[in-house]
């Protein structure tokens, strides 16, 4: 069972490596990989595709900065965030706005596993934790 999971993970990682062109994630290669999997089905294709999807999602998340916000955010702010994150991570990062009323006011930016936050709810939570 464990060896089966290991094989699925290894296959998903191989497929994931094939999804890059010159070190950049390529949508065309992803389409090619999916076509290959469709033509040459594995014993457990759903599991392989699920593992591959997780890896792709992580990679896509690395190239995206999800900007959660409460209230309106102007485009210049989103653009500034894109530039700043691209500069910080030394790779192209696209900022995507996502409303989140629970923040009350302010922003929370997620890039992969990294989170940057400057929001009223965050400050209140920090205040509650410090008491």
């Amino acid at each position: 069972m464990a060896s089966g999971k290991k094989q699925i993970t290894q296959l998903a990682q191989k497929l994931f490596k094939l999804s890059f062109v010159d070190g950049r994630f390529s949508e065309e290669r992803v389409a090619g990989v999916l076509a290959y999997v469709e033509k040459n089905p594995h014993a457990k294709p759903v599991a392989v595709l699920r593992a591959y999807s997780r890896l792709v999602a992580v990679e896509v998340a690395k190239g995206q900065a999800v900007v959660e916000h409460a209230g309106p955010v102007n485009d210049s702010a989103i653009q500034a965030i894109t530039v700043a994150m691209t500069s910080r991570y030394q790779r192209p990062i696209t900022a995507i706005a996502k409303p989140n009323a629970s923040l009350l006011a302010g922003l929370r930016i997620r890039v992969g596993d990294d989170v940057y936050e400057s929001s009223a709810s965050g400050q209140l939570a920090a205040l509650a934790a410090s008491v």
Binding site: H69, A70, G71, P72, V73, N74, A77, A80, I81, V83, A84, A101, L104, A105, G106, L107, I109, Y116, S118, S119, A120, S121, L124, A125, L127, A128, V131
Partner: protein, 194 residues
């Protein structure tokens, strides 16, 4: 009563008559004849006396003397035994007295030792009880202090939670889009400059 001069006169006459007769016959023969002494009878009496004396010695005196000696010996033995018994009794009494004195001294020492040990045990028990009581008091004080700190922490947390919840509700109601926009711009500047 005859007076002394008369008696002396008679005695003198008799002596004179006797002296006269003796002068005419052998005196020994005359004496034996006069007193009726028979030598054969005397010898027979002597033999009889010796026999009787021997028989008496053999069958009367000797057993009696032996019995007397035996009784004397028994008496002396009894006396010696009594003396020995008395001496032994005295010795035993002395020994008993010494033993009693020794026992009294030992008993007094044992009592003193027991008293001392009892006192030490009591002191030790008292000290242990005091230590246990102090330990219990300390533990109770620590528990009370911990409980107090815990209650204070819980109270602080609860108050903070209530303050935050209230502030969140107030902010959610009171902030308008313009306020949020200004806040978002400031946040964007802060996050991009860091």
């Amino acid at each position: 009563m005859i007076s002394l001069p008369v008696l002396a006169e008679v005695t003198g006459q008799v002596a004179e008559a006797t002296a006269a007769h003796a002068a005419s016959v052998n005196p020994i023969t005359e004496i034996t004849h006069t007193f009726g002494v028979n030598p054969a009878a005397i010898i027979g009496q002597i033999v009889n006396f010796v026999i009787v004396a021997f028989v008496l010695w053999k069958f009367a005196f000797k057993p009696v003397l032996a019995t007397l000696d035996e009784r004397q010996k028994k008496i002396s033995d009894g006396l010696r035994y009594a003396e020995e018994t008395k001496a032994r009794l005295d010795s035993a009494q002395q020994e008993i007295s010494d033993t009693l004195k020794k026992a009294q001294i030992e008993a007094a020492a044992i009592i003193e030792q027991a008293r001392k040990a009892s006192k030490e045990v009591a002191e030790r028990e008292t000290a242990a009880a005091t230590e246990r009581a102090n330990s219990l008091i300390t533990t109770a004080q620590q528990a009370i202090e911990l409980e107090k700190q815990k209650m204070l922490a819980e109270a602080r947390t609860e108050i903070a939670r209530l303050v935050v919840a209230t502030t969140q509700r107030v902010l959610a109601k009171e902030l308008n889009d313009a306020d949020r926009s200004r806040y978002n711009e400031a946040a964007a500047r802060e996050l991009t400059s860091a």
